[in-house]
């Protein structure tokens, strides 16, 4: 990755003509007669590049819309007067299939009804999106937090601590995630809840987030460790130490600002992965339980209906496809904007 600690005018060819000298602080503008030269920090440059990228704009828009829709789910429920668990069984025929065109699309139910249960697809989708996005973001953040902490620890310390952390990373990578989840989630639920209590949906969600977080930090950790190892020998770190800076200052004020970019990209790539894996958990009965709406469980239930009611499969499938695509494209664009010299 490129070296941000040196002025790019010495080391970075190919900067766009619009950006000028990039120094650590803004330099004063030149004479007004000439074209105004404005100093920009690396972050501002990255932001500009991102804004210019059309793919990034589109995918960011998609994500923002998804986030707004997910957050405002209760608003939609209030507007339509329907609860996501409401069953419109009278709109189902004798086989349990929704009556009408395209899986029951009407003015009252914009995306139709679920076969069998008669729930409104739009509301289930919107609430399910909320659950899935929340789990995916929280897991990504947790994984990054753990990864960064461990990575910095391993990269900074030498000797046995570094070896110990490497060993821990290897073990975590080797551990079968799905089997662990299948075993631990029901056991923990039984431990904390009696046979007559239902675990609150929040508990199951928390368990899923914890499991994802516990298993996905390794990539970030290795990445951060590599970065810290390469950066800790640099002159600016030596200079800081010579000036009397403690470990804390070096870690937080010198090193971390230089490694947040790849971490951000990793987070944005992880989120769609988590959305997909959380959907997969529904297939093995350890996803979010009924009656909490969940995108993954909806996809799982809808697969059998591909031939009989493809509209039921289409809407959640399309949603998850667009979401994952938007996240991946945005992550790509982010990486490009933060480091234009990285290979495509």
């Amino acid at each position: 990755m490129s070296d941000r600690s040196h002025p790019p005018s010495l080391a970075t060819p190919g900067d766009s003509a619009a950006s000028a000298l990039a120094v650590d602080a803004e330099s004063p503008p030149a004479a007004a007669a000439r074209r105004e030269i404005v100093g920009r920090s690396p972050n501002q440059l990255a932001w500009l590049r991102l804004k210019r990228d059309r793919t990034a704009r589109l995918s960011a828009l998609t994500l923002v819309v998804a986030a707004i829709v997910a957050v405002c789910a209760p608003l939609l429920g209030w507007l339509t007067g329907i609860d996501p668990t409401d069953k419109f069984v009278d709109r189902l025929n004798d086989f349990g299939m929704p009556i009408g065109y395209a899986g029951g699309i009407t003015t009252a139910h914009w995306l139709g009804l679920e076969p069998g249960s008669g729930r409104d697809i739009l509301l289930q989708l919107v609430y399910g999106l909320r659950t899935s996005l929340f789990i995916a973001f929280a897991s990504a953040l947790l994984a990054s937090l753990i990864g960064v902490t461990v990575g910095v620890l391993a990269g900074w310390a030498r000797g046995w601590l570094d070896s110990a952390v490497n060993w821990l990373i290897d073990i975590t990578l080797a551990f079968p995630f799905l089997i662990f989840a299948l075993a631990v989630i029901p056991i923990l639920e039984d431990r904390f809840y009696t046979e007559r209590e239902a675990p609150s949906p929040a508990f199951r969600v928390a368990l899923i987030i914890a499991t994802f977080g516990l298993f996905s930090w390794t990539y970030t950790a290795r990445l951060v460790r590599g970065q810290v190892i390469s950066l800790r020998e640099r002159e600016f770190v030596e200079a800081a130490r010579a000036a009397g800076a403690g470990t804390g200052h070096i870690l937080f004020r010198q090193l971390l600002p230089n490694i947040w970019a790849p971490i951000l990209v990793t987070v944005s790539m992880n989120v769609p992965q988590f959305i997909a894996i959380e959907a997969a958990l529904a297939f093995v009965n350890i996803g979010v339980t009924e009656p909490t709406p969940d995108l993954g469980r909806m996809i799982y239930n809808s697969i059998g209906y591909v031939a009989s009611d493809p509209w039921y499969t289409l809407f959640p499938g399309l949603t998850i496809f667009l979401l994952v695509l938007a996240f991946n494209l945005f992550g790509d664009a982010l990486r490009d904007s933060l480091d234009p010299r990285s290979t495509r």
Partner: protein
């Protein structure tokens, strides 16, 4: 992608109509379930089916392998119909799909002689000329041996009627544990004066003995061929087919038994040359293959119901004629754990609250069954419809509020964790919550579901259960399910744990009635239980919805077993 688009357009352009279920007619066949001693009914050969032709290989596609084909361990309908091709019990069911269910003698010349007219001593005379697959004759001693070995504790999965009747008062094998390990050759009460006669003497009267003798328990097993726990793999054939090969969980192949004489058999036509069972296919996969009817699947059928997702594709011409559907002998009820829910008003309120329509639509609607109001199924002899509560099928909120009187009871609903049962449980939860209850859902691993709810001290309040009569009278429904004296620590069938001395006394009284009055007695007791105690919420009468290929002929739903009968089936050449 274009296929999906085409499917979307196709599905979008034609509206799903309300009559997608095929009209919703309330066709519940009432079995007559009569016992026939007429010579015409009891004599072989079986009546020829119009247009039938001999030959061909019939394929039966199944989701999973049979657990037990051993006659002593056979208590599941698909196993009993398969076993019926391999061995012959004393009695059997003669049916032709028109609803006239006749019980006649299979190995025996007639359904059994009540020697002293007190229903305590029953005598069966075996037919002449019945031979095993190796040509040796079937004797009454083999029938006695077959029953004797069913007492062994490791062969205990089958029905225990005859065994219990021979040793009443206590566990069926408390006093006799079978001929192995030094036990007597046969239990007390069975005599075989000669090779063609077998006589049962019961301490108490049992007028249902002809029905019990139709269960596989009385199938003949030669002592020399008894492979004990391995008998499942290769029962020694006394029927029209014998086992050619059996690869567990893969395939079972049956070929003709050359020593079976059709003139001795009033029940079976045995048209196909070979019958092949394949296991391990997904339910949806089987249904799709039968709907598509490719040449390889035209001579095939399945006993697995069509799953809800494939149902809409069975209504088109070309497929709808190959659907075999109808009511079965199972009734599904929402059991209320009366040990925990002791307030009768709450139980009554639950009966008013239940939305049976939603519970059915969650698992396929009309194809899965029809809403129920009684404990016994309409297929039981003498069944009369009654409705104690007269609530609309979607529930009656006003009455519920009235009965609950301001309370909001918290109840735990346990369910099996399969996809369909989870959806059904969610439908019930939503329905009861809207009606004024606080429902907590608890999923249970489906393979141990009945074990869990069958424990007397289980922690749940509501759980679904299905029960089918072993033969079409109320005596195999009411006593096992609603007699409090049957309750044990584990393995209960009385899932509502109803323990009322008045009901137990009434059961004894009806049992003692003369045979002709028993049916009416059970029907009256059915209504009495619901009216006075409401220990369950009857949800629906089960229906079967099966498919067969276009080359399969004379496929009809057996009234006795609730699946496609194989006795008269043939393949169009």
């Amino acid at each position: 992608m274009s296929v999906l688009a085409a499917a979307l357009v196709a599905a979008g352009c034609s509206p799903t109509t309300d009559s997608g279920g095929g009209g919703g007619d309330d066709k519940t066949k009432t079995q007559t379930g009569s016992i026939s001693y007429e010579a015409a009914d009891n004599q072989g050969p079986a009546k020829e089916v119009d247009g039938a032709s001999r030959g061909g290989t019939l394929t039966i596609m199944q989701n999973s392998d049979f657990e037990h084909l051993d006659p002593a361990r056979n208590y599941v309908n698909v196993q009993q119909v398969t076993g019926g091709l391999l061995y012959r019990a004393l009695n059997g069911y003669k049916e032709d799909g028109s609803g006239n269910l006749l019980l006649v003698g299979d190995l025996a010349t007639d359904p059994g002689k009540d020697v002293n007219d007190d229903c305590k001593v029953w005598q069966f005379t075996l037919r002449e000329g019945v031979k095993y697959e190796d040509g040796s004759p079937v004797t009454s001693k083999d029938v006695a041996y077959g029953i004797a070995r069913s007492f062994a504790s490791n062969l205990n999965e089958g029905p225990h009627y005859i065994q219990q009747w021979l040793y009443p008062g206590g566990a069926y094998n408390a006093k006799y544990q079978g001929p192995y390990d030094g036990g007597k050759t046969g239990p007390d009460g069975i005599e075989t004066p000669d090779d063609r006669t077998i006589r049962f003497t019961f301490p108490e009267p049992h007028c249902d003995m002809p029905y019990a003798a139709a269960l596989p328990t009385s199938a003949p097993v030669p002592a020399a061929k008894d492979t004990r726990a391995n008998y499942d793999l290769r029962p020694f054939s006394s029927g029209p087919y014998k086992v050619k090969s059996y690869q567990r969980d893969v395939a079972l192949e049956l070929e003709r038994n050359p020593n079976w004489d059709p003139k001795t058999d009033p029940l079976r036509n045995a048209y196909p040359d070979t019958i092949r069972f394949t296991f391990g296919l997904e339910q949806a996969q089987i249904a799709e293959r039968l709907v598509a009817d490719a040449p390889a699947d035209q001579a095939a059928l399945s006993w697995t119901d069509v799953p809800p997702a494939v149902l809409p594709r069975t209504t088109t011409a070309g497929v709808v004629e190959r659907v075999v559907k109808g009511p079965t002998q199972y009734t599904w009820v929402l059991n209320i754990n009366t040990q925990r829910v002791t307030d009768l008003n709450i139980r009554r309120a639950l009966n008013y609250a239940a939305d049976k329509d939603a519970a059915l639509k969650a698992i396929g609607g009309q194809a899965a069954g029809s809403p129920a109001t009684t404990l016994m199924s309409p297929t039981t002899a003498g069944w009369k419809k009654y409705d104690v509560f007269n609530a609309p099928v979607t529930g009656d909120k006003a009455k519920v509020t009235e009965l609950l009187g301001g309370k909001r009871p918290k109840l735990v609903l346990a369910h099996a964790n399969t996809e369909l049962r989870t959806q059904q449980a969610e439908a019930i939860r939503k329905n009861l919550t809207d009606m004024g209850f606080d429902i907590v859902m608890k999923p249970i691993e489906s393979s141990s579901y009945y074990d869990q709810v069958g424990r007397r001290n289980n922690p749940y309040d509501l759980y679904l259960g299905g029960w089918g009569s072993d033969w079409p009278t109320g005596s195999t429904v009411i006593p096992p399910l609603y007699d409090g004296r049957e309750i044990v620590a584990e393995g209960n069938n009385n899932l509502s744990y109803l323990n009322e001395p008045t009901i137990s006394a009434e059961i004894d009284r009806v049992r003692g009635l003369p045979a002709v009055e028993q049916d009416a007695g059970w029907t009256a007791l059915d209504e009495k239980i619901m009216r006075e105690y409401a220990p369950v919420v009857p949800l629906y009468y089960d229906a079967a919805y099966e498919l067969h290929g276009s080359k399969v002929g004379n496929a009809f739903l057996s009234d006795a077993y609730g699946i496609i009968s194989l006795n008269g089936i043939y393949l169009k050449q």
